[in-house]
């Protein structure tokens, strides 16, 4: 697909003196943005998320120098290797603080984090809460398959009660985490839910997440055909399920309403549950810096440091 990108051709048409405009840069094609062939099993839901990320990059004219793709460990976290762009495959569970380091030190980049339910809600659960409450500007997509896939079918923090895995052969006994509730309670300022079987909806959520100024979180159901086949059939009309979008009268700024929506039994609703406007950590740190810089205006770094040393004399 190649959507005509009107918004980026800013040729001035009214006779005003226009600055010399460089020839319009073409968006990246799928061929240019695709890298290694994914290691996922045929039929894995993650293929769909990757394809839609490519589509997002193309549609929104995100060139390689504008983005960073970050992940932790898990099947879905192989993601950056499949993207021809700057990326990092970090350690298990810690992709969010790593990505926060990128986001806070490089305001010129848009940071995308991809991970799984184990990465984000088990080993990295604490980081999820804190990245959300700090409202670090980045987009976090959790490809939730309700099972550990890379290590071959152990119980995950989102596995439903009774799910039979290699670590719970009699069925999961621990109450599962509800990612949407978790995100809302932690203070995420953009919380959306989608599923890999509805590509247009996935792309729509990704675009909305990207445009959100803050910590944007998407839970994307992504079926593991190998270890949890049919987990999400009830949300897939092609498998006899129903895909319900968030009711049109839902107020996305109403935290309690969002929490209630997250409490619906599966398959629940899909769309943006919650969206709040709160200053990002990036903006707050920038404000701290602006105030501090104002006080040392005109001084070179070594001259600022000299003032500190003068106080030690």
């Amino acid at each position: 697909m190649s959507a005509p990108t009107v918004e980026l051709s800013r040729q001035s048409g009214n006779g005003a003196v226009a600055p010399a405009t460089p020839p319009e840069r073409k968006p990246l094609t799928k061929k240019e943005i695709a890298s290694d062939h994914p290691t996922w099993c045929p039929g894995c839901g993650d293929f769909s998320v990757l394809a839609l990320y490519f589509k997002l990059i193309e549609r929104r004219k995100l060139w390689q120098e504008k983005i960073a793709t970050i992940s932790g460990i898990g099947c879905s976290s192989r993601f950056p290797y499949f993207v021809q762009g700057y990326g990092a495959h970090y350690i298990h569970g810690r992709s969010l603080p790593f990505a926060s380091g990128v986001s806070l030190s490089r305001p010129d980049l848009h940071v995308f984090v991809f991970g799984g339910d184990g990465d984000m809600f088990s080993i990295g659960g604490n980081h999820f809460n804190h990245a959300a409450r700090k409202n670090v500007k980045l987009t976090c997509v959790v490809m939730d398959n309700w099972v550990y896939g890379l290590t071959k079918k152990q119980t995950s923090p989102t596995s439903p009660l009774g799910f039979k895995s290699k670590t719970d052969t009699w069925g999961a006994v621990d109450y599962p985490i509800n990612p949407m509730k978790q995100a809302i309670a932690a203070g995420a300022t953009f919380v959306a839910r989608t599923t890999h079987t509805n590509p247009n909806h996935v792309l729509q959520m990704m675009e909305a997440a990207m445009d959100h100024d803050g910590f944007s979180f998407i839970e994307c159901l992504s079926e593991c055909v190998e270890f949890y086949e049919g987990a999400f059939d009830a949300s897939n009309p092609r498998k006899g399920g129903v895909f319900n979008v968030v009711p049109p009268d839902h107020d996305v700024t109403d935290e309690a309403a969002a929490y209630k929506l997250a409490d619906q039994p599966f398959p629940g609703s899909f769309g943006i549950f919650y969206k709040a406007s709160r200053p990002t950590k990036n903006a707050k740190e920038a404000a701290v810096n602006a105030a501090a810089r104002e006080k040392v205006k005109g001084l070179k770094d070594w001259e600022i440091l000299r003032k500190a040393f003068d106080r030690m004399k």
């Binding site: 890298s35 060139w63 990326g87 495959h89 970090y90 600022i304 440091l305 004399k313």
Partner: protein
């Protein structure tokens, strides 16, 4: 003696005591942690710095929020001062426990000044020590009309010390003014009143007072600070503009300073939810083109280790500070130990070579930070700075650095490059320019930083050949670094009987031990190793000049009888004459203890040479 500014003595002074000129003095102040005794020590240290004298301090603090015994020892000298001194010339004791606990640290014949309101002197000790009892608490209340019962008695005591050592009153008043001169002018007024009352108090019972001889060594303006502060400003001078950490004693000061100061330079320091998040955030910023810093103390460093391994694997420049304390586990949070050397050199799984540096004094903390950043940048490797509780909290005076010259700008270069291989096997010393996110790469091939073994572009591989080549690459670049490191200089003659080897904060007492032994006619030299991993070249030549090599460390002698550096050196040089002198009392080395422990080697010397 210089005239006091405007003291109105509460009673008429007795006969003027004798004045002796001295080169140095060790003053130990013992009280409780909330008494402000660190403030007295701080004033004395800064005064010494402003008087171009050398100074070193030593303190112990309880790991409680408030209360508990605490000491501050300050050694001021007109000549070189390398340690905080073994025994005190003057002990200032605020309480009975301070008096009883610390009298043994006073030289025989030394002066013990005690608060007569709280201390009942022991008759059996009056013979050996010169006792001077002054009702410090009640006189302070008398001077400033105290309501809060103990406020100001530290400043009163400072006045007493100023009198005994004929300190420069105008300079001290200046320092008190800088410290207490805030919005509430009554605070400064009270502080000065307490100081003057102490200064004017009758010293009739003291049989002599002292005067420091003119300073020989220093010229120009000195700065007076502690190791944590010097380290934090070194990190800033090095050009680091991003850091992340989690609070822990005794590292926290560094992060507090960086959090406060970095914004002035356009940088950011983040307090994270935990230690792992902190190093991860630093890794992220380093990946994104900064050389980021994280730091902690013992337990926190243990938590960071998986991420250190990632930085080794992904070849990311990162600086990790460890302000060591007593371990393992929560251990002795406010005591000193050098027991994290193995952790720094070998922590994390797999073959994970990294660089380890240890500053030897407060001034060295500043320059070590810059060196660490530059090694990290050049070799794309994590670099540990092993500081410790003693160096972190002790105060020293040193010449102000030439900041215009040493300050660095290490903003990433984002201009386009033709192609970039992050793990280029043909450049073992590390890539010259790392293309970081935001840099257009004209070939269209972009690097991936990952923890999986990888090819030259960073893509995963299970190739046995590539794993061997990449493992060797990560090792070889440190071998290249090692070849460039300076051979440490021997302190004392290059040949002799005993060589004392040290690292980190122990350089001062070790070198003093050499001085003292040589003055007694013994053949002892020392060498101090700053680059601990990789080791610098030429150590075997140095060792070959001595009968025995004793590695002086503040850690346990280990299962096989060798401390952590001694173990490394034995593994490296297979030399049976290397052994250790170790201790685990959580205190800094006293010179006499080092000499006592090396005594057997010293006295059986000359048997081989």
């Amino acid at each position: 003696m210089s005239d006091a500014a405007s003291p109105s003595p509460p009673e008429s002074p007795g006969p003027e005591p004798k004045i002796s000129t001295i080169n140095e003095a060790v003053i130990r102040i013992a009280g409780n942690s909330q008494d402000g005794i660190q403030a007295i020590g701080g004033f004395l240290a800064r005064l010494a710095g402003r008087s171009e004298q050398e100074v070193m301090t030593f303190m112990t603090i309880p790991s409680t929020i408030s209360g508990g015994p605490s000491i501050f020892q300050v050694r001021i000298g007109s000549g070189e001062v390398a340690s905080a001194g073994d025994d005190a010339d003057v002990l200032l004791a605020f309480y009975q426990h301070s008096y009883e606990e610390h009298l043994s640290s006073l030289k025989k014949g030394g002066i013990v000044l005690f608060d007569a309101d709280h201390v009942e002197p022991k008759p059996e000790w009056q013979q050996d020590y010169h006792h001077v009892g002054i009702p410090i608490s009640s006189l302070t209340i008398e001077a400033i009309g105290g309501t809060a019962k103990d406020k100001g008695k530290n400043i009163f005591a400072l006045g007493l010390l100023a009198r005994i050592f004929d300190l420069n009153v105008a300079k001290l008043e200046g320092l008190i003014g800088e410290r207490f001169g805030g919005k509430d002018t009554s605070i400064l007024k009270n502080a000065l009143a307490a100081f003057h009352a102490g200064y004017a108090h009758s010293l009739g019972q003291v049989f002599e007072t002292f005067k420091f001889s003119e300073s020989q060594r220093r010229s120009g303006q000195q700065v007076v600070t502690n190791g944590n502060e010097a380290l934090a400003y070194g990190i800033i001078a090095a050009g680091v503009r991003f850091g992340a950490a989690y609070p822990i004693t005794p590292w926290s000061d560094v992060m507090e300073i960086l959090r406060r100061e970095l914004p002035k330079y356009g940088g950011t320091f983040v307090q994270c939810e935990d230690e792992i998040a902190a190093i991860s955030m630093a890794n992220g910023a380093s990946f994104a083109g900064r050389v980021a810093v994280t730091g902690s103390s013992g337990p926190g460093i243990s938590l960071k280790m998986e991420s250190v391994g990632w930085a080794v694997m992904a070849e990311i420049p990162l600086v990790v500070v460890n302000v060591q304390r007593g371990g393992p586990s929560t251990g002795m949070p406010t005591s000193v130990e050098q027991s994290d050397l193995n952790l720094a050199c070998f922590g994390s799984h797999g073959d994970a070579p990294r660089v380890v540096l240890a500053p030897a004094d407060v001034e060295d903390c500043f320059y070590t930070a810059i060196e660490a950043v530059n090694i990290a940048r050049k070799f794309n490797v994590p670099v540990f700075i092993l500081s410790d509780q003693a160096i972190a909290t002790r105060i020293e005076a040193f010449s102000a650095p030439d900041l215009e010259k040493v300050c660095q700008d290490i903003t990433p270069d984002l201009s386009p490059v033709a192609d970039f291989k992050p793990y280029d096997l043909s450049t073992p010393e590390g890539t010259t320019r790392r293309a970081v996110p935001g840099t257009p790469i004209l070939s269209g091939r972009y690097p991936i930083a990952g923890g999986l073994e990888h090819d030259e572009y960073g893509h995963p591989t299970g190739s046995p050949k590539l794993h061997m080549q990449m493992t060797a690459k990560r090792r070889k670049k440190l071998q290249v670094l090692a070849a460039t490191l300076p051979t440490p200089k021997v302190y004392g003659p290059p040949e002799g009987n005993v060589l004392l080897v040290g690292w980190g904060s122990t350089r001062g007492p070790i070198q003093e031990a050499v001085d003292r032994a040589r003055a007694a006619g013994d053949s002892v030299s020392a060498v101090h190793i700053k680059h601990l991993n990789p080791l610098p070249p030429g150590l075997e030549n140095i060792f070959s000049g001595f009968n025995t090599v004793r590695v002086v460390e503040m850690n346990d002698e280990g299962l096989y009888g060798y401390g952590q550096l001694a173990g490394l050196l034995r593994a490296r040089f297979c030399d049976p004459k290397i052994s250790g002198i170790n201790k685990t009392d959580g205190l800094t080395w006293r010179v006499k203890d080092i000499l006592e422990r090396a005594r057997t080697d010293i006295s059986t010397g000359l048997r081989k040479l």
